[in-house]
């Protein structure tokens, strides 16, 4: 089981636009990834699941996946979470 623990860097936390970008990326990695915050684990492809984690700026989350491509998929998603996606929003620049 591959695993990455990362701190949510987006100013608005893991909902609104950052959640959308994360879930879109999770759909594209081709591996089933789960994301955990505290006691709660949800599929990374589930927008409702990701929202329900209630992860805010600074929350530590753990990504997990199995099988071929897992390491690469987790690297991609962990890198996304550790960027401030709100700051990259052209509408707010």
């Amino acid at each position: 089981m591959a695993q990455r623990t990362v701190t949510v860097a987006s100013a608005s936390g893991l909902h609104a636009r950052p959640a959308k970008l994360f879930v879109q990326a999770a759909m594209n990695v081709g591996v089933a990834v789960t994301i955990r915050a505290g006691e709660k684990t949800v599929p990374a492809k589930s927008m409702l699941g990701v929202l329900s984690l209630g992860a805010v700026h600074g929350t530590e989350v753990t990504l997990e996946a199995d099988g071929p491509g897992a390491e690469e998929a987790l690297d991609t998603l962990a890198a996304l979470l550790s960027r401030d996606l709100d700051a990259e929003d052209p509408a707010h620049a």
Binding site: G49, V56, H57
Partner: protein, 531 residues
């Protein structure tokens, strides 16, 4: 064209301007029929999947046609409709024997409750789930999907009320908004004003007007003329075009016809809202800095945000954090209250949480020093003279040059004279002052008439504050929605207020309304309104 008599409906005008066009009604949420006996659970599960796919496809198509923030909101909604967990839940319920519509209804309800339970800004997503549920259920029942129509020609949008998801998709074809429900501070009203769209809310009977009927909407008076001829509609449009051209040419400081100055100020939420018009900022809301935080924003980040606005506007009134149990912020960690509007909100948060206000005041003082600007700072939800004195002491000790108070509580308005012995200025928040004066919830759809700012009791309170300001030689402004209404602005000036602070888009119409009347005429209107 037959000469049919026009019929007039009366509502509450909440966003000025005139428009005319055919009515297009927004389909309301579908009624859920009684459960249907299921013979083929597999077919029901397939219908569930098809409905969710259709909703996601429709939203994705709308997102592609929208821009900016609206496109983002619609894309996020499409992704929720596409959610694999939601789909599995709904399909499982169908396989267990529910018909497609009830399976969807139950699955959405479960996720809605989960989000509601998380509270705060996530609870607002619960309304999005209701919206998606209505779309999916309508699809399985073969009904038109609720939500914004796209008739392919300009139209007057008529609805029971509008949700945030509806308003995000509002395209350029919409000429005006008319809703059966809603009040002057409802979502519909605020959005319409920010977009400069004429709007009438609380218009009884409008949803009974058949689609395609030509109507004329006056967003100032609240009158909706039903059954116009094509020529009458064209005349209204011509007048509106002329009026817009006149406003576009409007500039300069606020003055009555006889030269009495009234400062026209802007309500902003961040530096991004600043426009070249207006004579400064009358209300800088600082909540955006505090959204979705586990901890208060760091001192340096606050200094930078305040300095950005202080450095760009000629004068700025900053309101300290206006949150609490009515507008929960995660980092405050306040417990739920049975009656949040009467609970710990605004300045009252300082009673239970040390440090948030102090840090904010220090950051504002540092930003003022760095930019060389003078910081005017006011506290929201002040009730007593003791609270005012304590706030003024703290703010001055931190180096704030001008200290003021928001007047939102009737008790504070009644003691305006004593308050002005403690502080340098007052700013009247008419939305909350109306809510508390008339004991009517701002969001309550059935109480819109009780929130109308033209009511004499509210005008009396505003007059008391203005009078106290005149005696003390200190500014007393209005920064609620009433200040941006060109029909109300002269009345407020007649009551004696010295500045009006409003959404930037409202400035030209208010300036022109004041320029058309002398101070004595404004006073006459105020006298008549208080009788």
């Amino acid at each position: 064209m037959p000469d049919t008599p026009t019929q007039a409906l009366a509502g509450l005008g909440v966003s000025q301007g005139r428009a005319a066009g055919p009515v297009v009604r927004m389909a309301g949420p579908p009624a859920l029929p009684a459960p249907r006996p299921v013979t083929d659970p597999g077919a029901e599960a397939a219908a569930v999947g098809a409905a969710l796919e259709a909703v996601a496809a429709d939203l994705t198509r709308r997102a592609a046609a929208a821009e900016g923030e609206a496109a983002e909101i619609l894309e996020a909604l499409a992704m929720i409709a596409d959610d694999p967990t939601l789909r599995e839940d709904a399909e499982a319920r169908a396989r267990d024997g529910l018909d497609a519509a009830h399976a969807l209804d139950a699955a959405f309800a479960q996720h809605r409750d989960a989000l509601s339970a998380l509270g705060g800004y996530l609870a607002e997503r619960a309304a999005d789930l209701d919206d998606l549920k209505h779309r999916a259920v309508a699809f399985t029942l073969g009904l038109p999907m609720p939500g914004l129509p796209a008739p392919g020609h300009p139209y007057v949008l008529v609805a029971e009320d509008l949700s945030p998801a509806d308003t995000a998709g509002l395209g350029p074809d919409v000429l005006a908004l008319v809703t059966e429900r809603g009040g002057p501070t409802s979502h519909t009203a605020i959005l319409a004003r920010s977009r400069g769209l004429p709007a009438v809310v609380a218009c009884r009977g409008i949803t009974g007007v058949p689609g395609g009927t030509l109507v004329g909407v006056d967003g100032a008076t609240g009158e909706v003329a039903v059954g116009l001829t094509g020529e009458e509609a064209e005349l209204i449009r011509e007048r509106d075009r002329a009026e817009r051209a006149r406003l576009a040419a409007s500039q300069g400081p606020g003055r009555t016809a006889d030269g009495h100055p009234v400062k026209l100020l802007l309500n902003i939420g961040s530096a991004a809202d600043l426009v070249p018009d207006g004579e400064g900022v009358g209300l800088f809301r600082t909540e955006f800095l505090f959204l979705d935080r586990k901890q208060a924003p760091p001192f340096e980040e606050q200094v930078a945000a305040y300095a950005e606005v202080l450095g760009r506007a000629e004068s700025v009134i900053i309101r300290t954090l206006d949150a609490g149990t009515d507008k929960p912020l995660p980092f405050l960690g306040l417990p739920d209250e049975p009656n949040p509007a009467l609970g710990v909100r605004g300045l009252r948060v300082d009673r239970v949480l040390d440090g948030v206000l102090d840090t904010q005041l220090e950051a504002i003082a540092a930003a003022a020093k760095a930019t060389g600007a003078q910081a005017w700072v006011m506290a929201p939800m002040v009730t007593t003279v003791e609270e005012a004195a304590a706030f003024a002491r703290t703010a001055r000790a931190k180096g704030i040059a001008k200290v003021g108070l928001m007047i939102e509580v009737p008790a504070a308005a009644l003691r305006a004279r004593a308050l002005l012995r403690e502080v340098d200025f007052l700013s009247i928040g008419t939305n909350d002052l109306a809510q508390y004066t008339f004991a009517a919830d701002r969001q309550h759809p059935a109480l819109a008439d009780l929130l109308d700012p033209r009511q004499p009791a509210l005008l009396e309170l505003i007059a008391m504050c203005a009078q106290a300001g005149a005696e003390a030689g200190k500014p007393v402004g209005v920064c609620g929605e009433a200040a941006g209404d060109p029909a109300l602005a002269p009345l407020l000036v007649g009551l004696g207020v010295t500045s009006l602070s409003m959404a930037p888009v409202c400035v030209p119409a208010v300036r022109e309304a004041l320029a058309g009347l002398t101070l004595e005429e404004c006073r006459e209107r105020a006298r008549a309104a208080r009788e």
